[in-house]
Symmetry: D2
Subunit: 461 residues, 4 copies
């Protein structure tokens, strides 16, 4: 998954981009990059690691100019490694341009083969590079026209920022898979970001989300907008952004992420009630849903697991391995809360089931007499081809096992998932007609995938 | 403040010490160190920074042996810098020894002057070095006897671990200011740590806390205990460990930290009620008290502030400075929760008041119509001389201002502190006869300070 | 300037490449890179800095395979920065390939414009990328045929190594500007390197230099050779390699670099004799010529300047700046040798004159009564367009000043350059018909430049 | 071995100390440190590594003040590691002081035991710490008087710089083992350094060497001198400084190091002639003696071995190990010079013989038909206890083997050492009555060692 940020019209463009990327750090921790334009020349800095470690004062000073775009990356398409760090940056016939992409193109392989057959060189594994080649090869007279022509050929999820010497361009794909929000600073600079939390940090006013299929150009302080693509058959806003990915203080697709998550928990309490003494969360992502579950069920909310402030670092595993080592470095159980209690523990999703299993065992080892695992989304059964980094179907436990089997595997006394209908209710779209729920339903929205996967039968059926 | 950890009788002594220190990282982030003994030679590694960054596999491999002690440090006595990183490590007439100290000696300055007059050299600013000199100068025949003679001369707070070529020694001062807990691993190794959370991580069984004034020697797999010091007039267990310092999953001085904090919040709700729509915490330290406040008051608990997972890093401040910059990098307000609401916000303490002020302003900027600040401890009016790093009296806002003045400064609609009595109730010692509450009451327990500060009148009186 | 190295058919290909690059480190200190093939996949590591700092054991382990190419770079065409570090590495229609280039293409700008007009993207500033695009766009059926078609379009200096999944290819341009030598290891592996010193280090047998215009393919352990290009009008082996650039223990263009340099000094003594008490060198590059000068003139050779072993690091300049600061960190004068003496000091060339001036002043400050500067090559008056990093004409002191003016500027008592004829004699090609001497004569050999610069009049004429 | 530097009375004291240490880097590459005084407080920075890597601009800025001392270290007494990095720095009854020591104390072990018995703590392995303890324990009224009392107790080699808040003190032991030279800057600042090369770099005027047994105090811009120690029975200036250790452009013990080395080579040619075609040096240390040998013998000097500019870095050894790997990374043989020639190769000394063996083999592999190894000093048979880092006797090849045996081991056609008499002649002290030659003669000069080792019979006798 990735996060993108751009700003134009501000003397501290690269510094604000770095702060914006920090606010979006939860969207990608593998690498980060900024490309800035001083009106004549683009300069880039990309590196593996965290935003605050990469962008020191001397690095920022070497990125002068009034406009900049930035990117944080957790690998999706393409492997990891510095060559895939974005924003990508090239020279072409029209000068220089740079691109930062959140999403994933589903027809990149075919387009890449076609381009290579025409002599194109690919220097990264990123599907994003396909867009750059298509743009450079276009015979259209302007940069925007070239870009539109290029994007008309691609299929999939893209919220994209582009920077040339003199303009910043933002585009959101016609399905609107990934978020992209426009803001404005008091001094007049325009800002674009994956989530509102980045705008809040730098005190930009939130103007609005870009429309699905909208293309915005900001040049000489003027913003122009257009809808140059054929509208998608229907919207496909990523529901998993609400379930897990986005930061809870963000407002996304018109709804507060925090409130959606609380409603998921409330609905979950209604659908999957449990006899218990207390409700706890798997912190931090499970907290809002756990509070919602508590409020709807009347079972008191408490803190049964403490999240370490020092996770995310690598550790040397002792030879006499500690049980649940990985989870223990991240989470500690609060014995006094759990001892002798029947506990509802709320998490956002189960991927492989291994972490859930460790958590349930930790809770029991700390004295919980019953552990009822409640998941604030439906079973994750299908891989995402639109930008979320999920494993293949065979690794998704819910693709190959029933809920009962999973409950047994994770050693929970009971396991309950939210229904698809309940999920729709929480996002105030009961029929899920404006959201993509493919990871839960297998209903992919793009032509290519809806044909191949649409007819797939559930492996565990 | 500091954290200490020791283990003896385990083939992976330094590796487990490193994990133990990681679990105690919240007690000190400035530097960390481990000294290990292979039975003949002590080896040390000390460095500025975080445990997980310092102790890489090659570093751990260079610390072989069955016994090790470790230390994480946030400066108290003595300035910062690598020379003050512990464990300290010296050669003396009897061989080698190393020491890791949590606490602060109140008569270190006098003893240091006396020792220097006799020709002693001091290579750090740490009061701990005084103990080493006294020990080395003792004419007693054994290491323990030397240590006892040395410690009889010092006054103040100390939980200390010492490592020689062939034994591990642990001592807790007669007032019992700082915690120190004994554990045992399944394989038979003894473990000592500042807090139980470190024992939990490495799956050591918690045996018991050391008694105030107890000295434990572990040698050749055998543990001997003694009470070699004159008992203190009364116990002085640090109440601030419960209020703020310890990790909530630890059991400290016989009580669960988490439960104490919840009771602080419950008592606070009784003493300082507020008309409000919801209760939020300043995360993460204020969470248990906020939940307690919610349960006692019946006002719903919710999450109004999100803590970033990437705090603790340094940032380049933009020139057009963002309001409340420092706080914003750490905390984000959840607008949807706060908008139009009367909010009780619970924090553990107020030091200078500047952060509280920023938080209150952030909450109002995010839409809260009333902000009622509730503090789960009494006003912090006196510096700690027993190991907590508090600023001087003149910087403590509560030492020089009334509660009304503070409320006005932090721009809260109301401000309420917990009473000293309430604090005692929460730790189940209503008269506070076994706890040190000097930071709140000015009643210092050691001879030297009780004379000087005991008669002091409150500056703001 | 750059150095290249390649090996195929050896289980430690990347390790030997790293040693080979270390031996070629004098050819470029800005960045280094290795690309290795395991038969299926190419893996790359490129970084700013020195070979021995970049290629640690874990980095080498991540470059498995029986074949590898490497590159050390000091910027020529294209600015500095990681994006220009070689070997370059791309995917194209036929799979993956990598390229390492020593030299400079004189028609890169025109070709780049043409390629960009067709939609090509350029990700580096390197002229080398032009070759990659031409190759990828070729419609020829095989990799070699594509490469030949590509190289037929370029003009200039190139010794190139290419690596695909299954073969190593080496090419030398028809003029033979840059060296490239073939070697063979006892175990059968083929090796290619810019200079023989790299083969000596890894104990490869020196087979022969590649012919100008020769293309060698090594695949499945078999070496095929061909001469696919139109022969150049005449050879243009870079005479400056002998004068300064190559390592003295190398054998280059059939002659020992060390012996050539000694002969340069001998001829210089004949052409530009001096009345003096001793001959010293500007170390280390001036040493062979100084010994030759001494032997031919009978004036004793001695060491008047000591080179620091710790140069090449950056230094903080004191505010009260030390005279000749930069030179002093590199060179120390030996007072006892110089005091009261008339000194001949031999250097290989003068570029801007500033360093020579500092050296002459240092020698006089150390007691030399006369300083006679002798240069073992003719005046450097023309920039190199074939791969040596020389400044523009206006910065070349000999392009704008007479020898007398230069002598005065550098404060030498006399200044003597070697003649072009003498230079030819030393390389055993009195008419210079097989060497490029453009930096001294302005006679550029490639079509494009011979037209433009051939008619240029000397600025200082 | 170590190098020391001090300056007082200059606004850029720490910056000039860093430059001075860089000039002395050849005296120690393991660690470096600077302690500076701003008149009130001493500040230290010590680190493993090279001067230019350690002292970056921010580090220098944190060392303000008009006075500073610095140290470069290669371990002698005491093992390696950061705790032994100097200058050492302590607090004592009189305030703060720091010490930088070049040399080695022969009675440190006894004094250490005595001090430890009195309760002293030792934090390093350095014998230097003994001096600090003795000083701190002295009951004398002034710092100088304490220092004198302390130094009267020690025996051995010491050139020492001490820094207090307000003065810089320099002392040289009564035997004068190690050099120490006084200089003065134009602006009036006094400078002290191990060698004149450091004064030359910062353009300080060389005033004079300190006398053996002299103590100099510089305070408030005034220099006071005294001779407070009992004169030594005789001088013992280290002859190995001239043979190998010092930088050739330095003037040491009144003689130019370079000239002494040339005279060593001339005398060697007379004592150990050889029939040969050319004389080469093992660079760089053997160069002056090789030139002297050439001049005295009339055999032409040439360059047969090239020293890499990139040595001193660690390397990954290939599994199929290259013959003479270590030497090959440092030295390359020049085939064209050596081929078919009878070669005299001059080196300064032989320690274990392994490197000499590799060099002789390299020369033969490069075509030399005869290799005559000539050593510009007598056989190294005895360890140095005065500060040079030599291995134990059993590892010194000349302590256990005859010259013939060594010649055979190193595979040389002949081997000749300089005689002790010849060595004396070269330093203009034929009877060696002012030099220590213990490493060659076994005649140790200090009481303690002259008794124990004086009567020793040569192992190989």
């Amino acid at each position: 998954m990735c996060g993108i940020f751009g700003i134009v019209g501000h003397g501290e463009a690269s510094n604000l981009t770095y702060l914006g990327l920090h606010a979006l750090q939860h969207r990608g921790q593998e690498s980060a990059g900024i490309v800035a334009s001083d009106g004549h020349t683009l300069r880039a800095h990309r590196q593996m690691g965290l935003v605050a470690d990469i962008f020191t004062a001397p690095v920022i000073e070497n990125l002068p100019g009034q406009a900049a775009i930035g990117h944080v990356r957790y690998s999706t398409a393409g492997g990891s490694g510095i060559k895939n760090a974005q924003p990508l940056f090239v020279n072409y016939a029209g000068g220089q341009f740079s691109i930062a992409h959140n999403g994933n193109l589903v027809n990149a392989t075919e387009l890449k083969a076609e381009l290579e057959a025409e002599g194109a060189l690919f220097q990264s594994d990123a599907d994003t590079e396909v867009v750059m080649h298509l743009l450079a090869r276009s015979k259209q007279p302007t940069f925007e026209a070239r870009l539109v022509e290029a994007l008309r050929r691609v299929e999939g999820a893209y919220s994209i920022l582009l920077l040339t010497e003199d303009k910043l361009i933002a585009v959101r794909d016609p399905n609107g898979f990934r978020p992209l929000v426009l803001g404005k600073m008091k001094e007049g600079a325009y800002v674009l970001a994956s989530e509102t939390t980045a705008l809040d940090l730098i005190e930009a006013e939130i103007v609005r989300e870009l429309e699905p299929g909208e293309l915005v150009v900001i040049e000489n302080g003027v913003l122009r907008t257009s809808m140059p693509f054929k509208p998608a058959a229907r919207l496909g806003r990523c529901i998993f952004e609400h379930v897990y990915f986005a930061k809870p203080d963000s407002v996304l697709f018109g709804s507060s992420v925090y409130e959606v998550r609380k409603r998921l928990g409330m609905q979950l309490a209604r659908e999957q009630p449990a006899e218990a003494d207390l409700v706890i969360a798997v912190p931090d992502s499970g907290v809002p849903a756990a509070i919602g579950f508590s409020q709807a069920s009347g079972i008191p909310y408490d803190v049964g697991l403490i999240r370490s402030h020092y996770v995310g670092r690598t550790f040397i595993e002792p030879q006499q391995s500690i049980r649940h080592f990985g989870v223990k470095l991240k989470l500690s159980a609060v014995r006094s809360v759990l001892k002798g209690k029947r506990v509802v523990v709320v998490d956002d999703s189960i991927v492989r089931g291994t972490t859930s299993r460790k958590i349930v065992k930790m809770l029991k080892a700390a004295g919980a007499v019953e552990v009822h695992l409640r998941i604030s989304s439906p079973p994750t059964q299908w891989p995402c081809y639109y930008g979320i980094d999920t494993p293949s179907r065979t690794e998704l436990i819910a693709a190959t096992h029933t809920t009962e089997e999973i409950a047994k595997y994770v050693t929970a006394d009971s396991l309950g998932y939210l229904s698809l209908e309940g999920l729709g209710t929480a996002v105030e779209d009961p029929k899920r007609s404006t959201y993509c729920t493919a990871c839960f339903s297998g209903q992919y929205l793009t032509d290519k995938l809806s044909q191949s996967a649409g007819g797939a039968t559930k492996l565990s059926a």
